[in-house]
């Protein structure tokens, strides 16, 4: 399975360690909240709202260097808009990996 990484953040920072640290801190602050809101909406079967949450999370997956994960999020967001959730397990395993990754940074 594809793993989260710092390739995008490193490219963007281009050696600017202050910016790199700032962006990582922002992601560490924002991502857990976004994941929590997503789970809360899924638990209440609010698929349309969950689709909006996935939309936001998709960007975080891109920031954490996940190319395939980003594509999964796109497909999952579209599914949720139609009230379906066949990619739920796959998407949520990506979120778990992202959470572990940022906690170790």
């Amino acid at each position: 399975m594809e793993q989260p990484n710092l390739s995008y953040i490193n490219d963007l920072a281009a050696g600017d360690e202050v910016f790199k640290h700032k962006l990582i801190t922002v992601v560490k602050n924002e991502l857990p909240d976004e994941i929590e809101i997503y789970h809360s909406n899924m638990n209440s079967s609010a698929f349309a709202k969950a689709a909006q949450n996935v939309h936001k999370l998709k960007h975080k997956l891109g920031i954490l260097g996940l190319v395939a994960g980003y594509e999964t999020a796109i497909a999952y967001e579209e599914e949720l808009k139609l009230g379906k959730s066949s990619l739920k397990t796959e998407f949520e395993s990506i979120l778990v990996a992202c959470n572990h990754f940022i906690n170790d940074l």
Binding site: L12, H55, K58, K60
Partner: protein, 238 residues
């Protein structure tokens, strides 16, 4: 060139601000987590360029653009490529950046913004009926297989929510499977006015109007450029 950044996501604002700092003569004047605060700022300040997130709670990027009287150049930032065609229907939009944004692509956008001249968009005609008489006093809506009566005079706001509309009254809110286009045909013109593609207001419930927004109960509702003249025409101005 000065610019502002509007995005509800802090990570996105951090990235765009950093990218701006890498470009000569591009100064970030302010960052906003929502469109309302940016609207107030734009009423008082001249800005050359806006980096605007397309998906924000309450206001979409397109909703925001429609509230601007003289929109500056706008670069849309989004994780959704499905709106590119709609985006280029707006003359003020000079580029459409997909997140996560790379420096090379960002630089291209800024160069484009520096070259392009913005022409004001043509305002679409308001879609309300020309004439109305207040014959009916109420509306029946289908909610959970019951036809529920709502008095027109109780409604202060109707909001589009995807395939649904949210009818707000002083006592209760009703979510109904319908569109603004359908309900507008049932409403008396004397009371109701479409002020934005997502909002119809009860004209009599206005508390105040500030430039491109109107206060109804506790709701600040955007007024789109195309609907503003009709609203102003109907005000009993001193």
């Amino acid at each position: 060139m000065n610019c502002i950044i509007i995005d509800d996501e802090a990570a996105a604002r951090t990235i765009v601000a950093h990218l701006c700092s890498q470009v000569d003569n591009l100064d970030v004047i302010e960052e906003f987590p929502n469109a309302i605060s940016a609207m107030k700022f734009l009423n008082r300040n001249d800005i050359d360029l806006i980096f605007l997130d397309l998906h924000m709670p309450d206001f979409s990027g397109f909703d925001f653009i429609e509230t601007l009287k003289n929109p500056p150049k706008i670069v849309l930032t989004t994780s959704d490529k499905n709106f590119a065609i709609e985006a280029f229907g707006y003359d003020c939009i000079v580029d459409y950046l997909l997140k996560p944004i790379t420096f090379t692509r960002f630089l291209k956008s800024v160069q484009k913004a520096q070259k392009e001249k913005v022409t004001p968009p043509v305002a679409p005609a308001p879609i309300l009926k020309e004439t109305t008489t207040l014959v009916e006093k109420e509306l029946y809506v289908n909610i959970d297989r019951r036809l529920v009566k709502i008095l027109f005079e109780d409604i202060y706001l109707i909001e589009a929510k995807g395939d649904y509309i949210l009818i707000k009254t002083e006592k209760k809110n009703y979510t109904v499977h319908s569109t603004l286009k359908k309900i507008v045909e049932k409403l008396p013109d004397a009371l109701f006015l479409k002020v934005h593609r997502s909002y119809i207001i009860n004209f009599k419930k206005i508390i105040d109007i500030e430039d491109n927004s109107v206060l109804i109960a506790k709701n600040v509702i955007p007024i789109s450029r195309s609907n503003r003249p009709e609203l102003m025409r109907r005000l009993n101005l001193l």
